[in-house]
């Protein structure tokens, strides 16, 4: 027997928009009220009223009127789908404002039905979504019972037909959204007022009166099993946003929202078996530009603590603009999860991953300020290595380089030749050489004779004479 949880979000047209909950707010579509918040409802606003009526009823400068935004609603539902995916892979969007989740097969995983519903409720409350929940073996019944029963847990262990006996046909009207209205009207004329009476009718009579399609539909409503057409395919990106409902004044106020969003991301990426290597934050304004910044990690991971720390460091480097009322987290690309390799016998178990230090330093100092050294096969010393932003560099087999400097100057320092004696911090004594290095013939040919010399302080240094200009330069310091 399948068990479907239908979550219907009647207020999502309003909840997906940033608004002040303490002031009256309505969403209108074609000049008619679709959704109103509690403050507006208390003032007497009802669905389907015209916006002019609402203005008459609510005489307040704080009245917020929004045009219904289907794109935002769809985005909020997509966000909810990604969250629901961490509960079950069998889920689908239902009507315009609902989700259906098949949870019969994952109850044990989530610690039982009551625990699961508790978690669902807590999450939705935390994210500011109002939902009607219904539980039934099939999707149609789950939706109907969601409207009808106050507590989905009360009836779930009872007989399905029994639970539906008293559902009035008017509610079917609402659930069907205008479909079968003729059939329902004709049933009404025949004195049938509840779903129970409808189910009790002989099937031949029902078929005659309402047609085979409706009969078929009734069969589905009381079915004890129901399967979705296909499993949910998680998207390869992640978008989530939070509206604060007030203007934030300092960065610290952003932290809880960051943590919430990162938790949602972690939850999603762990279920979908992929990890981000860079994330984007957007600080949202009601009107005007959003401010975005990216946080990168040199390795893909889904540790919310680590991402939070990197984001916090990054945020500290910025000045916060005015009027920021929301925060969004975007991941445009995921990498497939790599199995963590752990060393059973090493003493590395208490260590944090190597890349975490790099990421932390880069978050504050910038990407360019932290790099590694990579080798390159080239003859001229200044080209035989380069600074790399990648933390994994290729090792070239190089031998016979033991007589090289420890430090290489970024620019060679000119050496003075005076009375046939080289001077650099005092007179120099040549110890070893020459060793000719030539390269770069395709752009600016270089030919140099390299020597090891000793400074007056006894320090060996590495110097060369440019064979074209005859000028001497110090290029490094030996260990």
């Amino acid at each position: 027997m399948s068990l479907w949880l239908c979550l219907h979000f009647p207020r999502i047209p309003l909840e997906c928009l940033s608004h002040r909950q303490e002031h009256p707010a309505i969403v209108i579509e074609r000049q008619r009220v679709t959704v109103a918040n509690d403050v507006a409802l208390a003032a007497g606003v009802k669905p389907e009223q015209s916006s002019a009526t609402v203005r008459a009823l609510v005489d307040s400068p704080d009245l917020q009127i929004f045009e219904r935004n289907h794109a935002q609603e769809a985005r909020a539902l997509a966000q909810l789908e990604c969250w629901a995916y961490s509960i079950t892979p069998t889920l689908e969007r239902w009507q315009e404002t609902g989700l259906q989740l098949e949870i019969g097969r994952c109850l044990k995983l989530h610690g039982g039905l009551e625990k699961l519903l508790g978690d669902v409720q807590a999450y939705l409350l935390q994210r500011g979504f109002t939902a009607k929940a219904g539980l039934a073996p099939n999707r149609l019944a789950a939706e109907l019972l969601g409207y009808w029963e106050d507590d989905p847990l009360m009836g779930v262990y009872q007989d399905l037909r029994q639970r539906m006996t008293d559902i009035p046909l008017t509610l079917l009207h609402k659930a069907l959204g205008g479909e079968f209205s003729d059939a329902l009207a004709s049933l009404g004329k025949a004195g049938i007022g509840t779903l129970g009476e409808l189910i009790e009718m002989p099937s031949s009579a029902l078929g005659r009166r309402c047609g085979p399609t409706f009969q078929n539909w009734i069969g589905k409503v009381i079915a004890s099993h129901d399967t979705a057409a296909r499993d949910f395919q998680p998207p390869h990106h992640f978008h989530d946003r939070l509206w604060f409902g007030f203007e934030i004044r300092n960065q610290v106020e952003l932290h809880p929202a960051m943590q919430k969003l990162l938790q949602a991301l972690t939850r999603f990426s762990r279920t979908a078996q992929h990890q981000p290597s860079h994330i984007e934050w957007q600080m949202l304004r009601l009107h005007g530009n959003t401010e975005a910044f990216e946080v990168r990690s040199s390795e893909a991971h889904d540790d919310p603590e680590l991402w939070f720390e990197l984001s916090r460091l990054n945020l500290e480097q910025r000045t916060l603009g005015a009027d920021i009322e929301g925060l969004a987290l975007h991941v445009h690309q995921f990498h497939s999860r790599q199995a963590a390799v752990s060393d059973l016998f090493g003493d590395t178990h208490n260590r944090e991953p190597l890349h975490s230090l790099v990421d932390r330093l880069r978050s504050r100092l910038g990407l360019q300020a932290v790099n590694t050294i990579a080798l390159r096969e080239a003859h001229l010393p200044e080209y035989s290595q380069y600074l790399s932003q990648d933390t994994v560099s290729l090792q070239l087999p190089l031998t016979g380089q033991a007589q090289r400097p420890f430090w290489l100057f970024s620019e060679p320092h000119p050496v003075r030749l005076e009375n046939n004696v080289l001077h650099w911090n005092g007179p120099l004594v040549l110890l070893l050489g020459p060793e000719r290095l030539e390269d770069n013939w395709w752009q600016q040919p270089a030919s140099r004779d390299y020597y090891v010399a000793q400074t007056a302080a006894g320090q060996p240094i590495w110097l060369f004479q440019d064979r074209y200009s005859k000028q001497w330069y110090v290029q490094g310091i030996l260990p």
């Binding site: 230090l357 504050r364 290595q385």
Partner: protein, 246 residues
């Protein structure tokens, strides 16, 4: 005794005074008692190991290296350490280095160049911050930090020393020779002498010592550097224009 005070006294990195008989107060280990853990790393130079009371670089106390404008010269002192630490497969962090370490040399000597992490902080605050981060993170086997000629408060240095004491990261901080008169929280303070010599200016549980030679043959698998070989003929191609100064 007040608890916070007792806590400080019981820390292994706190120095304790002696009573009149010359015994360290209390029996528990302190920074200047004879008891020490195995928190030392051989320096790669026999004479230096002998002169340092711990028998090698203190892993938890921090090393302060005082030098003059060319701190850069002293890296031969730490090359054996870098080679030894390569086994640990952790970062060898260079914070605000004066130049770029030359990878072909390091590679030829057996230092894992891919472990070298170059960090270029912008200012003094960032320098201290990056050093502390590197020391606190468990991802570095050694942190070399060039603090430069700036003035540092004792509290700032103590913070670094505490970070170094927290885990097995070798902390090596280069400072200007002008700092010699200031107090140091680090357990070993070195001075750079003439080429390939080092002075122990101050150390916990040990004596100062000067002009400790660092024979190059010790850090190069007993192979002397060619320019150290006696009677090495200097082959200059032109010969004429150069008169080596004796």
């Amino acid at each position: 005794m007040a608890d916070p005070l007792e806590h400080i006294i019981n820390r292994s990195d706190t120095w304790r005074g002696m009573d009149t008989g010359g015994n360290v107060f209390a029996m528990r280990s302190s920074a200047n008692s004879d008891w020490h853990g195995v928190d030392a790393l051989p320096t790669g130079f026999a004479e230096l190991n002998r002169q340092i009371a711990l028998g090698g670089w203190p892993l938890r106390g921090g090393i302060e290296v005082l030098g003059n404008d060319n701190d850069a010269h002293s890296m031969g002192l730490f090359l054996p350490t870098m080679i030894a630490l390569s086994e640990q497969k952790r970062w060898q962090a260079f914070i605000a280095p004066p130049h770029i370490p030359y990878a072909p040399l390091l590679n030829a000597r057996g230092v894992a160049t891919e472990q070298i992490l170059m960090v270029h902080p912008g200012d003094r605050e960032e320098r201290l911050w990056a050093t502390e981060q590197a020391l606190r993170s468990t991802t570095c086997s050694v942190v070399f930090s060039w603090l430069g000629t700036g003035e540092y408060r004792y509290a700032e240095l103590r913070k670094l020393q505490l970070a170094a004491a927290e885990n097995d990261t070798l902390a090596i901080l280069f400072r200007s020779g002008n700092a010699v008169g200031q107090h140091t929280p680090f357990s070993l303070r070195l001075g750079i002498g003439p080429h390939r010599t080092v002075d122990i200016i101050k150390q916990r549980g040990g004596k100062p010592s000067s002009r400790i030679a660092l024979p190059p043959e010790e850090d190069l698998d007993n192979k002397p550097q060619p320019w150290q070989l006696p009677g090495e003929v200097i082959r200059t191609r032109t010969g004429q224009i150069l008169t080596p100064v004796a």
